[in-house]
């Protein structure tokens, strides 16, 4: 692994390596000294072309816990907003000596461009690109689900996948990088996935995706999912006629108090409720649902740091020259 650009291209082995490493990172975060020396002297640049305080501070905390130097580069108010190209920005970061670039960008594929163009040699971590992917979000979701799944089965989560788990993802799939990353990763890890959305908010061609499609949230809940992921819905989609009104959306596709109660009626005592944040309370998720014991939203946030620590560690800590032969672990 040189870059982390998407979960679609992430092998099962690499995905499990990140999740297993994240378990060890989570243990570090429980300690008094929440720091490891592993990236000492390495420079991680958070290159954010879109505002996202939560994702940025999560990556920043992760990098700092690994002792990396962190440079935050917000494109707003910088030369980038004055028309500097991605190429020039990348070359500037290369000249500064960035070892990793964590990039958030409004255009799908910008991280792939950065990684594949030869403008910079650093490891590239996609922190969300347009409506394409958000791989670390999917990894933290999978990490959260895996811990839940292991707890339920009384096993250790390390080394296991999500075989047998059924996950329902609800909302604006069309514009959601989280939905895409979640779907590919959950499938790689053996879970089955149902996407629930208004037909206008599903991408053209979604029939070819490896999942079930439903327009009916209540019917999907009746199938007994183990986890329900609610996606953020942006009110401005209403202006583009994706749905008639926020109220209608909320009634048909929101996780409201009635549906929260229905999980109990259906006997789904162990079904958890996820949300990538930030939430629109009262729109896609009711306050009571968000604050219920089923909700893993804060757990997701802290798991985000662990998963990002694991990603940075696995991308940056390894050999930087392929010349050195790998010694066998049992030869000393």
């Amino acid at each position: 692994m040189k870059h982390l650009l998407s979960t679609r291209d992430l092998s099962r082995t690499d995905a499990l390596a990140i999740l297993d490493t994240a378990e060890q990172m989570a243990a570090v975060s429980q300690r008094e000294v929440k720091k490891l020396p592993v990236l000492r002297g390495r420079t991680v640049v958070n290159l954010f072309f879109e505002d996202s305080t939560r994702t940025r501070i999560s990556f920043e905390a992760a990098a700092k816990r690994l002792s990396a130097d962190v440079i935050n580069f917000s494109a707003k108010g910088s030369s980038v907003s004055k028309g500097e190209s991605l190429k020039d920005t990348a070359q500037t970061l290369a000249a500064i000596g960035a070892d990793a670039v964590v990039i958030r960008h409004g255009s799908s594929g910008a991280p792939a461009r950065l990684a594949g163009s030869g403008w910079i040699d650093a490891a590239v971590l996609n922190a969300g690109d347009g409506t394409h992917e958000h791989p670390t979000q999917a990894l933290l979701d999978a990490f959260t689900m895996r811990r839940h799944w292991a707890r339920l089965h009384g096993t250790a989560s390390t080394g296991t996948d999500l075989t047998g788990m059924h996950v329902v993802i609800v909302g604006d799939v069309l514009h959601s990088r989280v939905a895409r990353s979640d779907l590919w990763l959950l499938r790689t890890l053996g879970a089955t996935v149902t996407l629930v959305a208004p037909p206008t908010l599903l991408p053209f061609g979604v029939e070819s995706w490896p999942c079930q499609i439903s327009y009916d949230l209540d019917a999907a809940l009746e199938t007994g999912p183990d986890a329900v992921m609610m996606l953020r819905v942006q009110g401005e989609r209403m202006q583009s006629a994706f749905f008639p009104s926020v109220r209608e959306y909320s009634r048909r596709w929101g996780f409201d108090d009635v549906r929260l109660g229905r999980l109990d009626t259906l006997g789904l005592t162990d079904t958890i409720l996820l949300h990538p944040g930030p939430m629109n309370r009262g729109l896609e998720i009711s306050s009571r649902a968000a604050d219920s014991p089923r909700a893993t939203i804060l757990e997701q946030v802290s798991n985000g740091v662990s998963v990002r620590m694991a990603s940075l560690y696995l991308l940056l800590a390894g050999e930087n020259t392929p010349a050195a032969p790998a010694p066998l672990e049992n030869a000393q």
């Binding site: 679609r8 190209s85 991605l86 190429k87 960008h105 409004g106 255009s107 799908s108 594929g109 910008a110 792939a112 461009r113 594949g116 163009s117 690109d129 347009g130 409506t131 394409h132 992917e133 990088r177 895409r180 991408p203 053209f204 061609g205 979604v206 070819s208 995706w209």
Partner: protein
């Protein structure tokens, strides 16, 4: 002017003959012609002689974007690609929507002397789609404009489109439509399909092209006018055009080399060299276009040569400009996609790259048979040579070739433009000299 004797060329890939070129004309065709005193003899054993290619769809960028291309560089590229005429699209800056601008482009072409440059006039003022440009003035100008297009933008207003179709009947003009329903393609980045869904790029649905073509062929039927459909890219469009032709509607259609070869899964790399409008489509669309071109539903190949400075491609996909270069690869791509697949022979190639485009554009001196007395617009092609496409070696200023690195067949060995060799030994020779009677106009 020199006299040239081309020996043992295969005419349209068929019988072998000699061609004698003098005074701008093909003066004789036949076996074992005698070389006149002072004639330059060109041995063309193994080469195919074809009428010079005519491109109905070229962006020469001048005036306004001389950093992307100039008439000089674009026509050098054209000559190397086997063209003897190109139609320069109207979306320059200023837009070619007045007699003044089209005459400027026309005289720049004359001065360059590499090919016949035929300006295309804008349909609407400033390509704004609001009111008709002075189509008559452009038709009457020295540029003698016959093809009108807002290419890059669609004439989406049905009333305006109807009026334009009607109006150009006065001078046997043709409206070349860029078929793209604007509301259905707001923010569109690539073909809407399985690939766009995965890549998270806003889709350009086939229906946005097909709905405009359907409307326009009905308008052409209603008005009895000539309609040309630029860069057809979908299987559905081919079906609509086939239907229209069966009903006798006066519609012609063009396909680009890139739409005959490339598909939208190339976008997976997010490399904007594959960003183009209309977008690369699916393998099924490519197949339908090839079949349509072979059976005559699609009349011609047009390059949609669209050079861009590198900074407009070395960036994020969404920020990148749309378009690809095509003049220097068109012959090879069409040979690869149509001839090597057995869908078409070289005679068919001449039809779709020379005879029919010249007829649509009303260019009397081009797209003629290889016969004595005809204007000597002739190219010699080595069909068995292969080469790897290297944009850095092209004459065009644009480096945005989607075919870079591909090994393709066919090399243009020589190009004769009005009897003058603009290309010899697959290299640029000299431009056609400016005639004395024209020189005051194009100084």
């Amino acid at each position: 002017m020199n006299t040239y004797l081309i020996r043992n060329a295969s005419l349209l890939g068929k019988e072998t003959a000699d061609l004698l070129i003098s005074d701008g004309l093909i003066s004789a065709v036949g076996p074992d012609l005698e070389a006149p005193v002072g004639a330059v003899v060109i041995e063309a054993e193994g080469l195919i002689a074809l009428p010079g290619m005519v491109d109905l769809h070229t962006h020469l960028r001048e005036p306004g974007r001389e950093d992307a291309e100039t008439v000089e560089t674009g026509t050098r590229a054209a000559a190397l690609g086997g063209f003897t005429a190109v139609h320069a699209m109207a979306n320059s800056n200023p837009v070619a929507d007045t007699a003044g601008v089209v005459e400027q482009v026309w005289s720049l072409g004359r001065r360059s002397g590499w090919v016949d440059v035929r300006p295309v006039g804008a349909v609407t003022v400033g390509l704004e789609g609001e009111r008709l440009a002075e189509l008559g003035a452009m038709a009457d100008s020295r540029a003698r404009v016959r093809v009108f297009s807002d290419d890059g933008k669609c004439v989406s207003d049905p009333v305006l489109m109807r009026r334009a179709l009607e109006y150009v009947k006065a001078f046997d003009g043709v409206i070349a439509q860029h078929a793209q329903e604007p509301r259905l393609t707001e923010g569109a980045q690539m073909n809407e399909g399985e690939v766009s869904a995965v890549l998270g790029l806003a889709g350009w649905p086939a229906v946005a092209e097909e709905s405009i073509i359907a409307r326009d062929v009905l308008l052409a039927q209603h008005t009895g006018s000539r309609l040309h459909v630029c860069h057809v890219s979908t299987a559905g469009s081919v079906e609509i055009i086939r239907w229209a032709k069966e009903r006798g509607i006066r519609v012609t259609a063009e396909a680009t080399p890139h739409h005959l070869l490339l598909t939208d899964d190339l976008v997976t790399s997010y490399d904007p060299v594959y960003k183009v409008n209309p977008p690369l489509r699916t393998a099924a669309d490519v197949e339908a276009l090839r079949r349509g071109l072979a059976d005559g539903t699609i009349d011609i190949v047009g390059t949609d040569h669209a050079p861009h400075p590198s900074e407009h491609k070395e960036c994020e996909w969404a920020q990148a400009a749309m378009g690809m270069t095509g003049l220097e690869t068109a012959l090879s791509v069409v040979q690869h996609a149509m001839i090597e697949t057995g869908l078409m022979d070289w005679e068919g190639f001449a039809r779709v790259t020379s005879l029919t485009p010249a007829a649509i554009g009303g260019v009397q001196t081009q797209g003629r048979p290889l016969a004595a007395g005809e204007p000597a617009n002739v190219i010699l092609v080595n069909p068995s040579a292969r080469r790897t496409v290297d944009p850095s070696k092209m004459a065009s200023k644009g480096r945005n070739s989607p075919f870079a690195g591909l090994e393709l067949p066919g090399v243009v060995q020589a190009t004769f433009f009005a009897g003058h060799p603009t290309v010899l030994n697959a290299n640029l020779n000299t431009p056609h000299p400016v005639s004395a009677e024209e020189s005051p106009w194009i100084a």
